[in-house]
Amino acid sequence: MLPTLLHLLDALSSRAPQLVVGLVICGAMLLIVSDHRLAILAFLVQRSIVIVLLWPAIGIPLAATSVIALIVIVVIYCITEWRWRGVEMSEPAHANRSRPSLTSLPFRALAASLAVLVTYGFVQTYNLNPLPPLVAFTVVWLIINSLFILFVADSALRTGLGILTFADGCRTLYALWQPNLLVWGLWGACDVLVALAASYLRSAGVIAAKSQPVGGHE
């Protein structure tokens, strides 16, 4: 099974342009969708694409570390969302609360298109030698998209996804420099910590909102 998987990864990583397009779609989805479950799915696909893209540079041990970290992060996020979503939706305060403009779909769609434009403009304007153009675009897209996610984040889970996307951008850069197993593993552990912290803040936020009187300021 392992040789087949390795062969598949080799074949996939040779299709870099298509993967980068997939990355842009996932990033835009991460920014646009308001449902946390879809956002987690988009993040899962996005990070998988990043791992496949980096596969030729990082090899089996680092890729395995990334996959393990990804699985742990997704499990943490899914458990948190599964645990608190029902509680939050059943809150009368949640139904009555007017949604802030930053979470509206048109605004998010505009933000996503602006992120694509800014990335394109940045890559075209600045000479990012010695990075290959596709890698430069990937790094810049991940970083700019993550900043947009952070700016429009309406919950701690979303903030966590923004931070993890930012880490993906940095990791892509680092993979081309001097990938070291220990640093890579520690970075994966840091990502898990960030996911844990975001998950805790989401839980704490829901508990705090529950304890607030209806109509009270958040």
């Binding site: 701690a156 903030t159 931070i163 930012f166 850069l173 960030v194 805790y200 607030q212």
Partner: protein
């Protein structure tokens, strides 16, 4: 025992406490035992002895040893405050995990690895946020965002430095690296415009996580910077230092003036702590001698923050008990706590004869010739803090002190009195603290700015 135990033991203890977190006695007892054991271990381990662990070199020098012992003792004090004033129970495990990671940050020889571990050590503290305080949750979320972003700048700076080592003639690379280190310092020290993060975190009652950040984290960030500048003297770019100094000055003034608008004593404490940090950074980025003044201010600030926060925690604790018992009599112990809180904040406001005043005078003497506007800027910050303190102390007097009774335990009061004496001693005998700084950081002082 090897060096890495200083990192492994707190992490294991944090894991045990997380598993049995409902056992308050276990959590507090194990945390205190771990920090004190680590402090004694740090004192016993041989200096400059290189250990290999996980393929990395771990080394303990004189400054690292002092910093580690300080970190463990400060953590033990915070844990004691937590234990005796019955703050939230979620503090022990995150703070121990953070201490474990910070120990690795200090002991690892690879600076890149230390810089990559630092955000993780800070991020784990977010787990100590009290779940009922909305502003604290917001502050913690912002903090989590800001502390993780500098990774990109650090990576880019190290990549450029490596390239510079290959092509030493390309000074532009070194210049760019120096500039790239400015945002991480600003973000990790939460200087202006990120200075409100810990204030927001601390606004709802007293959360001990921001106190840990002010007392421990700032020291470690500065230690890493000093180590980085020692390894790469080429990063001493004047313009980058001036930018950091300006960020420090703006933080000092804005945080000080904002203290005036705060209604919560813990928010005033946060403003005072950030204002003092701003002045310390300004001093450290000044010419030779400024580093000593800046470090002195940091020493004085650490003691003042511990004093004010322990006094405040004890007062909040008695207030909660009072609301249960509904007692309404005056008690001198409460007055002592209020005075201790005031002395701590006044020290950070630079009021004579406390340590903050001496540090400011020391730095001002260095900067006066070049920057005469400084006096007014610092004065406005100090006045903002004092007025904010008067306002919140007045409300504290009415809400807490007059309504407290015999419920204060002896131990928090004893701790507060010890810290009060230490704070006053630093103010009256600054030469001793300056001597200690010279002895420890002597080889770095000629490097100033940083």
């Amino acid at each position: 025992m090897r060096l890495y135990w200083l990192s492994v033991v707190p992490l294991v203890a944090a894991a045990i406490i997380s598993i049995g977190r409902r056992q308050r006695v276990l959590a507090v007892g194990l945390s205190l035992a771990t920090t004190l054991a680590c402090a004694s271990l740090a004192l016993l381990l041989p200096l400059n002895d290189v250990t290999f662990f996980l393929g990395q070199q771990w080394v303990l020098n004189q400054v690292a040893q002092t910093l580690l012992v300080f970190m463990y003792i400060a953590t033990a004090i915070l844990l004691t405050i937590e234990a005796t004033t019955e703050q939230g129970e979620s503090f022990c495990a995150p703070v121990l995990a953070s201490v474990g990671l910070l120990s690795a940050v200090i002991l690892l020889r690879s600076l890149l690895l230390s810089f990559l571990l630092l955000p993780a050590a800070m991020a784990v503290l977010v787990l100590a946020t009290p779940p009922l305080a909305i502003s604290a949750i917001r502050g913690a979320a912002r903090f989590l965002t800001w502390v993780t972003l500098p990774t990109l700048f650090v990576l880019a700076a190290f990549m450029l430095l490596e390239r510079f080592a290959l092509f030493p003639d390309e000074l532009a690379l070194a210049n760019l690296s120096a500039w790239l280190m400015v945002p991480p310092v600003t973000l990790w020290l939460t200087l202006f415009p990120f200075h409100g993060t810990t204030r927001l975190w601390a606004t709802d009652g007293l959360s001990l996580a921001p106190v840990f950040l002010w007392v421990v984290k700032d020291w470690i960030v500065i230690y890493l910077l000093l180590a980085l500048w020692e390894q790469n003297p080429v990063l001493h770019m004047e313009n980058a230092m001036i930018t950091l100094g300006i960020a420090g000055l703006v933080t000092a003034v804005v945080s000080g003036v904002l203290a005036l608008a705060q209604s919560s004593p813990s928010a005033v404490l946060a403003c005072a702590a950030m204002s003092e940090l701003g002045i310390a950074v300004q001093g450290m980025t000044a010419d030779t001698g400024g580093l000593q003044g800046g470090l002195f201010l940091l020493v004085s600030r650490s003691v003042a923050v511990l004093l004010a926060s322990s006094a405040l925690a004890a007062m909040y604790s008695t207030s909660v008990k009072d609301s249960k018992s509904n007692a309404k009599s005056f008690h001198w112990q409460s007055l002592a706590l209020l005075i201790a809180f005031i002395v701590g904040v006044l020290s950070m406001a630079g009021i004579p004869p406390l340590g903050g005043f001496f540090g400011r005078r020391y730095i001002y003497a260095l900067l006066q010739a070049k920057k005469p506007y400084l006096f007014l800027a610092w004065l406005s910050a100090s006045m903002g803090i004092v007025l904010g303190l008067v306002r919140t102390s007045w409300s504290l007097w009415h809400m807490r002190v007059q309504s407290t009774s015999r419920h204060i335990r002896d131990f928090p009061l004893f701790l507060v009195l010890c810290l009060l004496l230490l704070c006053l001693w630093i103010g009256f005998r600054p030469q001793a603290a300056l001597g200690l700084i010279s002895a420890l950081f002597g080889h770095w002082l000629p490097l100033s700015p940083l």
